[in-house]
């Protein structure tokens, strides 16, 4: 006799045990520590912090451990945690011009004040698997020269201002607070602060594909890397009661300024336009992709025809969040048998009508 | 506006989470079952709330439960001699506005001070929710079929029912009818009298 399916609860509880077992792997192998992840998988930690929208390397490393290396899952964990945190206030805008530089390059100029500092990068490595890393216990590597520089390194965009070659971006009148899409729903058309926030949190893969599309004719903006800088910036707050700024710490960030096709009109002489990207830690691919898409999304503002997906605000911003995209794609695993039942019934009916046109005609 | 010192400020909810939820459910009942009287239960954790001067306890509790730092509040002149502004600012973090048209929530001390509809946010056809919720303190509330009572129908009402609001003049229904011509724009009302409250969302039809 058929017995209705029961036991959903015990199935779930058992799945937790199976998952924990899968995550731990072979118990004979030493357990991975959060510190190890933080130190030696730091680029994964940087990505999780950036898209998780929380600067906390310890928590990001924990999320990576808990999710067995599935970074999208780790980002979800961090975001869900962030949603529970109380808001204490806003920092003063980061002064990236005063960054303690670890790496700083410009493709637009051969040389410039502060110099080209290659720093730590995979860019000029040969992508050959290093089998020596299979073993552990090697001596910790030491770089030949000090990484951080204290030389003044003005931003390229500031240098170009002198000739007014590059558009400036004054704060909108009234200097309104930036939009926070984690507190209010976005309305289209969205202003630039909302767009930049959305892009900063966006899934790197999606953003990369969108950015790539702009280089292949799906909107064209002839971009140049004005500057990429990676290093440590100071974080300050200016509490009303004090009336002055106090530093509360520092954090590593990556900033990318793209210089794009110039714009001009009858009334205004041509100037280069800009795209901006920012990420926590060392995340150049993300910052660059963000800067390209930022510029593409400014099409409306700059009077360009909107023809390509990367220029469509609603398209980009509605599909950029990995929590939303992963959640909805994977929700197809949930039971849908009631709706499928409805479809089955309809298709059977229609196939019957198809095979028996006389009946169908009578039924009307 | 009176600026009392903090130590004189009336208490808010003794248990904010529980009290806010209870009062919210009554607001939800009020607006989803318009014309149905709700009664604030002042026993239990609600009893320690100290409503400001000139405030009906139901109105004070309602705003205390619903407002926060993201809300703009306008108070009618009847609260000038009261600590209502400070009370709500302190307990909820809401912002006070001088122009009623900018307010998300409007608190009217008596029906005579009811602002004209054109002075209230009514939303737009694309965003009808960007409109005021008006909490109006009145002289009396009744739901029986007596002379002068409105006959009301619409969403939330099973057939028709009756509602009498003491102190509101005929200007109100005329303005409201004119506003309904621009539906879905409109203003949503909750009337209070002491510890009782009744809802009148823009969707309710009045036959008077």
């Amino acid at each position: 006799m058929y017995v209705a399916v029961k036991g959903g609860e015990s199935a779930i509880l058992n799945s937790y045990d199976l998952l924990a077992q899968q995550r731990r792997g072979d118990p004979a192998v030493e357990e991975l520590s959060v510190d190890q992840i933080r130190q030696q998988l730091r680029l994964a930690v940087d990505r999780v912090m950036t898209e998780g929208s929380v600067y906390d390397p310890q928590l990001a490393a924990l999320a990576i451990k808990q999710s067995a290396g599935d970074l999208v899952e780790a980002i979800f964990l961090l975001r869900a945690y962030r949603a529970t945190l109380p808001r204490l206030g806003y920092s003063v805008p980061l002064d990236t011009a005063g960054m303690q530089i670890s790496r700083r390059i410009s493709a637009a100029f051969k040389d410039l004040p502060g110099g080209q500092v290659l720093g730590p990068t995979y860019d000029y490595t040969q992508r050959l698997l290093d089998f020596s890393l299979l073993a552990t216990g090697a001596k910790a590597p030491v770089a030949r020269q000090a990484q951080a520089s204290t030389e003044a390194t003005p931003r390229v965009v500031d240098l170009l201002h002198h000739e007014s070659l590059l558009e400036t971006q004054p704060a909108p009148s009234g200097d309104p607070d930036p939009f926070d899409l984690t507190r209010q729903p976005v309305r289209f058309p969205a202003d630039r602060s909302a767009r930049l926030q959305n892009l900063a949190r966006a899934d790197e893969g999606f953003l990369l594909a969108m950015a790539y599309s702009t280089q292949r004719g799906y909107s064209e903006s002839h971009p140049f890397v004005g500057e990429i800088r990676f290093g440590t910036v100071n974080l300050s707050i200016a509490p009303e009661e004090l009336g002055f700024e106090i530093s509360i710490g520092d954090l590593p960030i990556t900033e990318c300024q793209m210089i794009n096709q110039f714009q001009g009109s009858q009334e205004q002489p041509p100037q280069f336009t800009r795209g901006y990207g920012l990420a926590f830690g060392h995340s150049e691919r993300k910052a660059m992709a963000m800067a390209l898409v930022d510029r593409a999304l400014r099409a409306d503002e700059l009077g360009e025809a909107v023809t390509a997906p990367a220029q469509m605000q609603e398209f980009v911003m509605s599909h950029s969040d990995s929590l939303e995209s992963s959640g909805f794609v994977q929700h197809l695993k949930l039971p849908h048998y009631v709706d499928f039942q409805s479809e089955l019934e309809l298709v059977r009916k229609m196939r019957h009508s198809f095979a028996n046109p006389k009946d169908a005609h009578a039924a009307g | 506006m009176i600026q009392p010192s903090l130590k004189d400020l009336g208490r808010g909810f003794a248990e904010p989470a529980v009290c806010s939820q209870t009062v919210f459910r009554q607001a939800l009942d009020a607006l989803s079952l318009p014309g149905r009287l709700q009664f604030l239960d002042l026993s239990g954790p609600m009893q320690s709330m100290q409503a400001p001067r000139n405030a009906h306890p139901a109105a004070a509790a309602l705003l205390l439960a619903l407002l926060d730092q993201d809300c703009k509040l306008w108070l009618s002149p009847g609260f000038d001699e009261s600590d209502a502004a400070t009370w709500l600012r302190f307990h909820t973090g809401c912002a006070l506005v001088a122009d009623s048209k900018e307010a998300d929530f409007v608190w009217v001390a008596s029906p005579l001070e009811m602002p004209a509809f054109e002075k209230l946010a009514q939303g737009t056809a694309e965003y009808p929710e960007l409109s005021a919720t008006c909490v109006v303190q009145v002289m009396g509330l009744a739901t029986s079929d007596q002379a002068g009572a409105w006959s009301i129908s619409g969403p939330g009402i099973n057939g028709t029912s009756h509602l009498q609001i003491d102190g509101l003049d005929s200007e109100f229904t005329a303005q409201r009818r004119a506003s309904q011509a621009h539906s879905p724009c409109g203003v949503d009302f909750i009337f209070t009298h002491g510890v009782s409250l009744v809802g009148l969302p823009r969707s309710t039809l009045i036959k008077d």
Partner: protein, 290 residues
Amino acid sequence: MLPVETITPSLVRDPRINFAYLDERTKRMIRRAILKAVAIPGYQVPFGSREMPLPYGWGTGGIQVTASIIGPVDVLKVIDQGSDDTVNAVNIRRFFQRTTGVEVTTDTTSASIIQTRHRIPETPLREGQVLVYQVPVPEPMQRLEPRETETRKLHALQEYGLMHVNLFEDLAHYGHIATTYDYPVLVNGRYIMSPSPIPKFDNPKMHLNPALQLFGAGREKRIYAVPPYTSVESLGFEDHPFEVQRWDAACELCGSRESFLDEVLMDDQGSRMFVCSDSDYCGKRQAGIP
């Protein structure tokens, strides 16, 4: 009341988590959205949807609505596909047990809040109950027009030609309207609304229902509502009026010919049987409880 063998009766509330998980400020924001939704039946109110411990697309909208309205004295029922025991319903119910400690039930009549995915209970609801629907796609016209900037204008102007044309095209193509679930409805004669992916069989239950119906879409960040006793009409044409599904079979377990039936495959020869989708309704009928 039926024995609740399918659920853990007492999961103690975790005192380290705020009641119903959400912080108070988020609850207020959602509550204000709900109040406006109730005042404008069928209109989708945008809200600042939060990341929840369950993924977007898995009921976070319904969960945020329930979390914002639920109180210590509520009695909660959670169903998915009509059953209390499907894994997602179990997961959500456990979430609320852990974060609120409220009494949970499988009994439709004793619940004060019912959170549901894809079904309306067969047992008629009464005034005072709240039915919270999980909604994946709140915009009924999204498949026809993905841009929200456009659909917002259509709703504002009450220009729903697109929907009628789409249904009409089905008739021209197949001789039937091909939409069998998430069948669009007109609410209070004004807004076309997605009832969520309930089978069209359930649509008539929405009309003039004495319970409050709330709809939460977390990923798309919309809340909407149908107050009690509100008209909800499924779209149709004069010569092709709306009609619900019918089965030739009865429920194998309780004999009902009135309820929505799930098809269960018995073997690989194509034999099948039908059982009620609503597990509480079916269980009560089997036990002879009216």
